[in-house]
C-alpha cells in the first residue's frame, strides 16, 4: 500500500461530477475569489445523470391550453411524496424550477422544441393540471436524452469557467471534528496516491446506491459512498427506508425505459392484453406515480398475469407509430433493439420494476447544509445535494422529472451558499495523520484472507431484493437485517486478488461493497422500524398510512454496530395530508 500522501488546500470541494456536483461547481466558479475543485471517481461526463431520459419538470406551461403553475407542480410533488416531503423545500423546488430550466437553456442545453420554438414538454407520471384533474405536460425534454444533455451542458459550463477537476479520484474518508467538516481524503485511482483535501466547505453529490439490489437501473459505480462515510463519522441519515423501484426496467437487465414512453401514450398490458392500470388508477392510469404502478405490476405477476409466465408485463408503444418513437424516444428504441432484439414500433417491450432512486440520504436544509441531528443542528462546512441528499423534497416517493430538477435547484443553492460561507470562514485544523484512517481501511482490504467481494455482494443483493423491495413485512425484514449484519461481519475479512497500487479497482470495488452494506443495513433497519405503508415503503403487515404515528422523518445514527432512531417532524405549509388517489 502506498503511504504517499499529498496535501491540497481549497476553499470548497465538490465530491461527485454528476448533475448536482457540476451545478454547484458552476455557481462556485462564478463567485470571485473562491478556489473550488471537483473530485470525481469517474470522468465527470461518465456520471449517471447522463442516463436520465425523460425530462426535467418545470411549470413553464408551453404545451397545455390550461397553462401551468408552480403551485400545481408543488401539489403533485407533495401528493407524490405521500405527504412526507417538507413543503417549504418543495415550494422552493417548484418555484425555482422555472428559473433553472430557462438558465439551462441559456447555457446552451439543446431542448427539443415546440412548433413555435419554445422548450417542448411532455406528460409524466403524477404530474397534473389544476391539483390532480388530468395529466399535464410539464416535463421539459431533449428527446429521451435529457440527462445526457444536462450533464454535457453543465460540464461545458465548467470548462468555460475553468473549474478545477480531480478526475478519477475516489473519496474514501471525510474529516469531521465536532460539528465541523474540514475536508476529505481521496485516492488517485491511476497512481494509488492518497490526497488530503483541506477545505472550508465540502459538498457531497455522489448519487445513489441502487446497486444493493439485483435488478437496478443504476450504474456499477452507484455504491452509496457518501452515506456510508457520513454514517461512519457519527452523522445521521434520513428516510433511508424509502427507495424507489421504477415500474419499467427492461426485463432481467433493469435498464430504464423512461416514463416518457407512457407520457407519449404508451400503455402497460398484462398477459391477457388488458390495460390493467385502469383498475388501479382510474384517472391517471399508466401515469399514476411510480410506487403505485410498480405495486400494480407485482400484483399482476403474482396473480399469474405476467407475460409468458415470466415476472414481467408488456409496455406497448406500437400504436405511437415509428415516427414518434424515432423522434421522441430514439435511445429507448436503440436499447430495445440492442439488448433484447425488440423493435418497439412493432412489438411491446417486456418490462419489470427496477431499483432506481433513493429518496433518503444525507439530511440537509434547503441550502444543502448537512444536519447533525433531527433537531436541525448544522454541521459547519458540510453540504449535500442531488440524489445522495434528503432535503426532503421527495418524501416517500419521488415523481418522475423531479430528480433532474432537484440536482440543479439544490446543487445551485448549495454552490451559492458554500461560496458565501467559505468567504467568511477560516480553515479548520486537520491532524497531521489525517489520511491514516483511510490508509488503514484500504490496507485491511488488501490483506484480507476471507471471501471475494462478489460472493458477499451477491448475497446482499439477493436478500435486499427478496425482502426489502416493493413489498415488505416484518419476518422478511428481520431476516434481511440479520443477513446484512452477518455480511458486514464477513466483509471485515474480504479478499482481493490485486495487491498493486496503480488503478486498483479490485480494492476500490471491495471498498464500495462496504459502503453498499452500510446503505443496505440502514435501509433494512429503517424499513423494519416504520410500521406503516407510505409511498415506496409498503408493508404487507401494516398496509395503511398512519399519519398519527408516522407523519415524520426517520433519522438514524450508527452507534457501534447498532442503529439509533430519532424523528423530525414534517413541514406542512399549504397542503394537509389526505388520501392519495390517482
Amino acid at each position: 500500500m502506498s503511504t504517499r500522501v499529498e496535501y491540497h488546500q481549497l476553499d470548497a470541494v465538490v465530491v461527485g461530477g454528476g448533475g448536482s456536483g457540476l451545478a454547484a461547481a458552476v455557481y462556485l466558479a462564478r463567485q470571485p475569489g473562491i478556489r473550488a475543485g471537483v473530485i470525481s471517481k469517474l470522468y465527470p461526463t461518465r456520471s449517471h445523470t447522463g442516463t436520465a431520459q425523460g425530462g426535467v419538470g418545470a411549470a413553464l406551461g408551453n404545451c397545455d391550453p390550461e397553462g401551468d403553475s408552480w403551485e400545481w407542480h408543488m401539489f403533485d410533488t407533495v401528493k407524490g411524496s405521500d405527504y412526507l416531503a417538507d413543503q417549504d423545500a418543495v415550494e422552493i423546488l417548484c418555484k425555482e424550477a422555472i428559473d433553472v430550466v430557462y438558465e439551462l437553456e441559456h447555457m446552451g442545453l439543446p431542448f427539443s422544441r415546440t412548433p413555435d420554438g419554445r422548450i417542448a414538454q411532455r406528460r409524466f407520471g403524477g404530474h397534473a393540471v389544476n391539483f390532480g384533474e388530468k395529466p399535464s405536460r410539464r416535463a421539459c425534454y431533449a428527446a429521451d436524452r435529457t440527462g445526457h444533455m444536462i450533464l454535457q451542458t453543465l460540464y461545458q459550463q465548467c470548462v468555460k469557467h475553468n473549474v478545477e477537476f480531480y478526475d478519477e479520484y475516489q473519496v474514501v474518508d471525510l474529516l469531521v471534528e465536532g460539528n465541523r467538516c474540514n475536508g476529505v481524503v481521496a485516492i488517485e485511482i491511476e497512481t494509488g496516491t492518497l490526497h488530503v483535501f483541506h477545505a472550508k466547505a465540502v459538498l457531497f453529490a455522489t448519487g445513489g446506491w441502487g446497486r444493493m439490489f439485483e435488478i437496478t437501473s443504476n450504474a456499477v459505480t452507484l455504491t452509496g459512498d457518501a452515506p456510508a462515510l457520513i454514517w461512519r463519522c457519527g452523522l445521521p441519515l434520513e428516510d433511508m427506508e424509502f427507495f424507489q423501484i421504477h415500474p419499467t426496467g427492461i426485463y432481467k437487465l433493469g435498464i430504464l425505459i423512461t416514463e416518457g414512453v407512457r407520457g407519449e401514450g404508451g400503455v402497460l398490458r398484462n398477459s391477457e392484453g388488458e390495460r390493467f392500470m385502469e383498475r388501479y388508477a382510474p384517472t391517471m392510469k399508466d401515469l399514476a406515480s411510480r410506487d403505485v404502478v410498480s405495486r400494480a405490476i407485482y400484483l399482476e405477476v403474482k396473480e399469474g398475469r405476467g407475460v409468458d409466465g415470466r415476472a414481467c408485463v408488456n409496455l406497448d408503444a406500437t400504436h405511437l407509430g415509428r415516427d414518434v418513437i424515432e423522434e421522441k424516444l430514439p435511445d429507448i428504441a436503440d436499447f430495445c433493439r440492442t439488448y433484447i432484439g425488440v423493435d418497439p414500433a412493432v412489438d411491446p417491450m417486456p418490462v419489470q420494476p427496477t431499483a432506481h432512486y433513493a429518496m433518503g440520504g444525507l439530511p440537509t436544509d434547503a441550502d444543502g447544509r448537512h444536519l447533525a441531528d433531527a433537531d436541525g443542528t448544522i454541521v459547519d462546512g458540510l453540504y449535500a445535494s442531488g440524489e445522495c441528499a434528503c432535503v426532503s423534497v421527495h418524501g416517500a416517493n419521488r415523481l418522475g422529472t423531479n430528480s433532474l430538477l432537484d440536482l440543479i435547484v439544490f446543487g445551485r443553492r448549495a454552490g451559492l451558499h458554500m461560496g458565501a460561507y467559505a468567504r467568511g470562514a477560516d480553515f479548520g485544523e486537520i491532524p497531521a495523520d489525517a489520511a491514516d484512517r483511510a490508509i488503514e481501511q484500504l490496507e485491511r482490504i488488501r490483506e484480507g484472507k476471507g471471501e471475494r467481494a462478489a460472493v458477499i455482494r451477491d448475497e446482499m443483493r439477493a436478500v435486499m431484493t427478496d425482502h426489502v423491495s416493493v413489498f415488505r413485512e416484518e419476518p422478511g425484514l428481520e431476516k434481511a437485517v440479520e443477513k446484512i449484519k452477518e455480511l458486514r461481519e464477513r466483509f471485515l475479512t474480504v479478499k482481493v486478488d490485486d495487491k498493486s497500487e496503480r488503478f486498483n479497482l479490485d480494492v476500490l470495488e471491495a471498498f464500495e461493497l462496504g459502503c453498499l452494506l452500510d446503505c443496505a443495513y440502514s435501509t433494512a433497519t429503517a424499513a423494519r422500524n416504520r410500521t406503516e405503508s407510505r409511498g415506496a415503503h409498503y408493508r404487507e403487515d401494516c398496509p395503511k398510512r398512519d399519519d398519527g404515528e408516522w407523519l415524520k422523518h426517520t433519522f438514524q445514527h450508527l452507534r457501534g454496530n447498532d442503529v439509533e432512531f430519532s424523528y423530525k417532524p414534517v413541514t406542512i405549509t399549504r397542503f394537509e395530508p389526505k388520501e392519495r388517489v390517482y
Binding site: 461526463t45 430550466v101 437553456e105 496503480r502 488503478f503 479490485d506 470495488e509
Partner: protein
C-alpha cells in the same frame, strides 16, 4: 455457452511488454462482452483492469477494441462476437493498465474547440426561441458521449499526435451549427490550423466506430465546408 476471452494485459510499471491472457467464462449469447469482463474480474482474476460504469452505452467508459473493432463492451453482445473474443485497449493513447488508457490528451483536444455555447447577448427572461428545423440541424452531434471510439479508430490521429481528432470536431460541430451560438468564427479559426479539421483524410473509420451512430465523417465535412465558405 463457454466463451474464450483473449485479453491484452499490460502494466507499464511492471511488465516489459504487453501479453495476451486467456480466460474462459460461461455466458448467455444475450450477455454483453462487459458481463464477461466483469465475471473475470469478480470471480477469476481481480487484477484485470478496465473502466466501466452505466453498462448500457451512455456513459462512454468502456470503449475498447473487440475482435479488432472499436466498440463499447456494454453495447456488444456475445452473439455478435461468438465464442472467441479478443479484447485490446483502444489505440493511440498510452496504456495506464490493461484496457484502461490515458485520456488526458483526448480531453485536452475536446477543450481546445471551445466546447460551450458562446452568446454574448443578454439572456431573455424566458427561453431563447429555436425552430425545430434549427434544432434538428445539430441534433446528430449532440449525441456524442466522449467515449473516444472514433478518435482512436482514426489513422490520422494515430499518425499525428497534434491532430485534434474526430471527437473534438464533432463537439465543435454541435456548437457551430447551433443557431443560438456566436462562436463559430473563433472555433473555425482554431480548426483551420494545422492540427485542425484538415487532418481528416475522410477514411470513415470514425463513423464506423461510433456507438451512437453519429455520422462523424459527415459532420467533419460540414465543418470543413463552413471553414471554406462560412455560414451554417
Amino acid at each position: 455457452m463457454r466463451v474464450r476471452f483473449e485479453i491484452k494485459r499490460y502494466d507499464p510499471e511492471v511488465d516489459e511488454a504487453p501479453r495476451f491472457q486467456t480466460y474462459e467464462v460461461e455466458l448467455e449469447e444475450t450477455d454483453r462482452v462487459l458481463d464477461g469482463l466483469n465475471e473475470i474480474r469478480w470471480r477469476q482474476d481481480g487484477t484485470l483492469t478496465f473502466r466501466r460504469s452505466c453498462e448500457h452505452g451512455i456513459c462512454g467508459s468502456d470503449a475498447m477494441r473487440i475482435n479488432g473493432r472499436n466498440r463499447l463492451a456494454c453495447k456488444t453482445l456475445i452473439r455478435e462476437v461468438g465464442d472467441r473474443v479478443r479484447v485490446e485497449p483502444i489505440l493511440g493513447f498510452p496504456v495506464v493498465r490493461d484496457l484502461a488508457v490515458d485520456q488526458r490528451r483526448f480531453f485536452r483536444n475536446y477543450r481546445s474547440v471551445l466546447p460551450f455555447l458562446i452568446n454574448e447577448d443578454p439572456a431573455p427572461a424566458r427561453e431563447r426561441l429555436q425552430s425545430t428545423e434549427d434544432r434538428e440541424r445539430f441534433d446528430d452531434t449532440t449525441k456524442c458521449i466522449l467515449c473516444a471510439a472514433c478518435t482512436t479508430a482514426c489513422p490520422s490521429a494515430w499518425g499525428d499526435e497534434a491532430f485534434v481528432g474526430p471527437a473534438a470536431i464533432v463537439q465543435a460541430h454541435r456548437f457551430i451549427f447551433d443557431s443560438r451560438d456566436q462562436g463559430a468564427g473563433e472555433r473555425l479559426a482554431r480548426l483551420t490550423a494545422r492540427s485542425g479539421v484538415w487532418g481528416c483524410r475522410t477514411v470513415f473509420n470514425c463513423t464506423m466506430a461510433c456507438p451512437r451512430d453519429i455520422q462523424v465523417t459527415k459532420a467533419i465535412a460540414e465543418v470543413k465546408r463552413a471553414a471554406i465558405i462560412g455560414g451554417r
